[in-house]
């Protein structure tokens, strides 16, 4: 019975938190705080790698700030595993116990928090601090809710490419695809040559969901998912059906490694970096693994990348693809005070240069990324792509759909690619799930 107790205790804990949350409506989203700066500890609830550039950079900045502000310290609470993080974040939100700073995507849940006045208006904050104009428009736009409001500070900027192994392409007699529809045939050729076509982290499900978003982004543009998520469009529309058919083809042509559904992030990375897989769809956060001397020399000299291919009658341009500013940093309105404001001013002013010095792409345009000494020419080539971006962003669907529809989509697309369900059954299931859940969430 022990676990039954646990299971019920979880629900009950949530119930208790509900009682606590009822009194939490007094926070304001003023984005302004006046008065003396008094040193104390502030916390940042993070969903980022503990040894990643964002945390390392902010730690150093916080130490510098603390040296001139006695009593100040930044408590970094890291939970890199995203599902665990979301559980922690949502439970704290329910209890009205969110810390001063916390990570969140521009999800419907975060939008509810913003509507309840629990988040500081970042649009106002950045303008107030005189930093707004230094940010990349795409970095800010990625963090915006559908109504254009901005409540998260972008801390990074990443471009997602298809990395590929030129030697394996040559072995299979294939070239860089010019259209998404070329990829299934490429997979067949690569398989015939004894090569795994695409390495993917199937366990975490978001990487496969990217593939679901590509076809509609090219054929119907970025608005399709925005309309779809509220029930204004359907999966059974032309864009959705084409996406499902394309995913099914990727599956039937064995594009992904065998048993991909239970393969994790490092499995996929290893498959590509060891030269066993021909393609790998990942962002610039992996530049240090893909474009430095850390990569095995035999693979390093053969690695290159291409952007998201077009599709017949593309509604979006070649320089428009997945360009995200990652999970954003929200500021709790409840604990926003002169100290938090002063620290944010200090940190966000210093951050871009320090972050760029670590070899990462800053969300701002006022600094130049330092290319590490051990980098291959590919490193700079990838960075330069940030200067040639279009305006439309291919939004990851996992930050757009309501959570229940998103979970079901992630489950069903795996079945679709594995051939355990048909494209038409997939569409029917998803439309039913969407019609049941979108109105509840966005209504």
């Amino acid at each position: 019975m022990k676990n039954t107790m646990k299971v019920t205790a979880v629900a009950a804990a949530v119930a208790l938190l509900a009682a606590c949350s009822s009194g939490g409506g007094g926070a304001t989203a003023s984005g302004n705080a006046t008065g003396p700066v008094k040193g104390r500890q502030i916390s940042w609830l993070l969903s980022r790698p503990a040894d990643g550039a964002v945390i390392t950079t902010m730690k150093k900045i916080a130490e510098d700030y603390a040296s001139t502000h006695p009593g100040f310290s930044l408590n970094l609470i890291t939970t890199p595993d995203r599902p665990s993080y979301i559980q922690k974040y949502e439970t704290l939100a329910a209890a009205n116990k969110l810390p001063e700073l916390f990570d969140t995507d521009a999800t419907p849940f975060a939008q509810k928090l913003a509507k309840q006045g629990k988040l500081v208006d970042v649009d106002k904050l950045l303008k107030d601090l005189g930093l707004y104009d230094s940010y990349r428009a795409n970095a800010l736009n990625y963090q915006r809710f559908d109504d254009g409001s901005l409540y998260m500070v972008p801390m990074q900027f990443e471009l997602e490419f298809f990395w590929y192994n030129k030697a394996l392409f040559q072995k299979a007699g294939v070239s860089v695809p010019t259209s998404l529809d070329d990829i299934p045939a490429m997979c067949t050729a690569l398989r015939t040559a004894g090569v795994t076509p695409i390495a993917i982290d199937g366990q975490d499900q978001w990487p496969l969901e990217r593939y679901m978003s590509y076809h509609p982004f090219r054929t119907a543009g970025p608005d399709y998912v925005k309309t779809l998520k509220t029930g204004g469009a359907k999966f059974s529309d032309a864009a959705g059906t084409a996406a499902a058919d394309w995913l099914a083809k990727l599956g039937s042509n064995k594009c992904f490694q065998d048993g991909f559904a239970s393969q994790g992030y490092s499995d996929a990375q290893n498959l590509f970096t060891s030269g066993k897989a021909a393609m790998y769809n990942i962002g610039t956060w992996e530049l240090s693994s893909l474009a430095t001397d850390k990569l095995d020399p035999s693979v390093r000299q053969n690695v290159d990348f291409f952007r998201l291919p077009a599709a017949a009658g593309s509604a979006t341009a070649a320089n428009e693809y997945v360009a995200t500013s990652g999970i954003g940093m929200a500021v709790s309105a409840q604990s926003y005070d002169p100290l938090v404001k002063d620290f944010l001013k200090f940190a966000l002013t210093k951050y871009p240069a320090a972050y760029a010095a670590s070899g990462s792409l800053s969300p701002t345009t006022n600094v130049k990324t330092t290319v590490p000494g051990n980098a291959s020419p590919l490193y700079q080539k990838a960075l330069d792509e940030a200067n040639d971006l279009g305006n439309a962003i291919c939004f990851p669907w996992d930050t757009q759909l309501d959570p229940t529809t998103n979970t079901r989509l992630q489950q069903e697309e795996t079945l679709l690619v594995q051939g355990d369900t048909s494209a038409s059954a997939f569409i029917d299931t998803m439309d039913k799930t969407l019609s049941e859940n979108a109105p509840k969430f966005f209504g």
Binding site: V7, A9, G259, D420
Partner: protein, 293 residues
Amino acid sequence: MLPHRSRKSVLVFLIPPLLLYGVAVLFPILQSLFLSFFSWDGISSLRFVGTTNYTHMLFGDDVFWRAFRNALGYLAICLVLQLGGALLVASLLTSVRRGREVFKTLYLLPAVISTVAIAYLFARIYSIEPVGLLNQVLHWVGLSGLERSWTSDVHTVLAAVSIPEGWRFLGLYTLIIYAALLAVPQELEEAARLDGASAWRVFVNIRFPYIRPVWTTTTIMATTYGLRGFDIPYIMTNGGPGQSSELLTTYMYKTAFTSTDYGYASSISVFIVLECLVAVGLIALLYRRKALS
């Protein structure tokens, strides 16, 4: 019968654990029951929806019923491995004269290993890329046709996540049953053997009836542990692919913490509580009838 003063002492000492039980178990159950009649996302106000959550759960949610069927399959595999395996191993242990302690320790070892470690261990055993132990063995014995990614295949994943759970507690139940078997009077067994009873007859007519009370308790423990199975399937497959290894517990967790539908998750948790109570009641009834007959 205890003297009056002793009974009073017993009651005094029983009250603190009873209070703790009430706060840690009964109160959360009642809270869940209360929440199950509401729609609540954790940050908005509670909205009373009557029995809508239960109606949807029982009549409109295909994932719920899939998870329920999976939970029963998971339970069946766990019980076969844990109880069947434990009875077999415990019986064999009574026949072993040398190295018994070594065997007992080895069988008990999985019970003290962390769940996360077990999940990752089995994930590697089942893997196809890179090739894991199971597929390697199949290859070596010439059964390459059976090689697959056991946790990606919708036909094998439920068994694949059940086996680690069964393996984990095999040693624990073996020890419990072994201790019960040791208490069986040797003279009874010897008398039966002198009368010409086979080993099977001795087991069926003497050993098993003698350990029946312990067996009933063990069955209840294994069943409730099986019905609340969560961690290993969640870590290994997150309920997938699709809903192939989704259990009621993993579905409840996702409903609460991914879908932020705490009201509906509470109705699933109430169902899990009832399911456990019904299972315990059925087992107790079944064994009582057998004992009477």
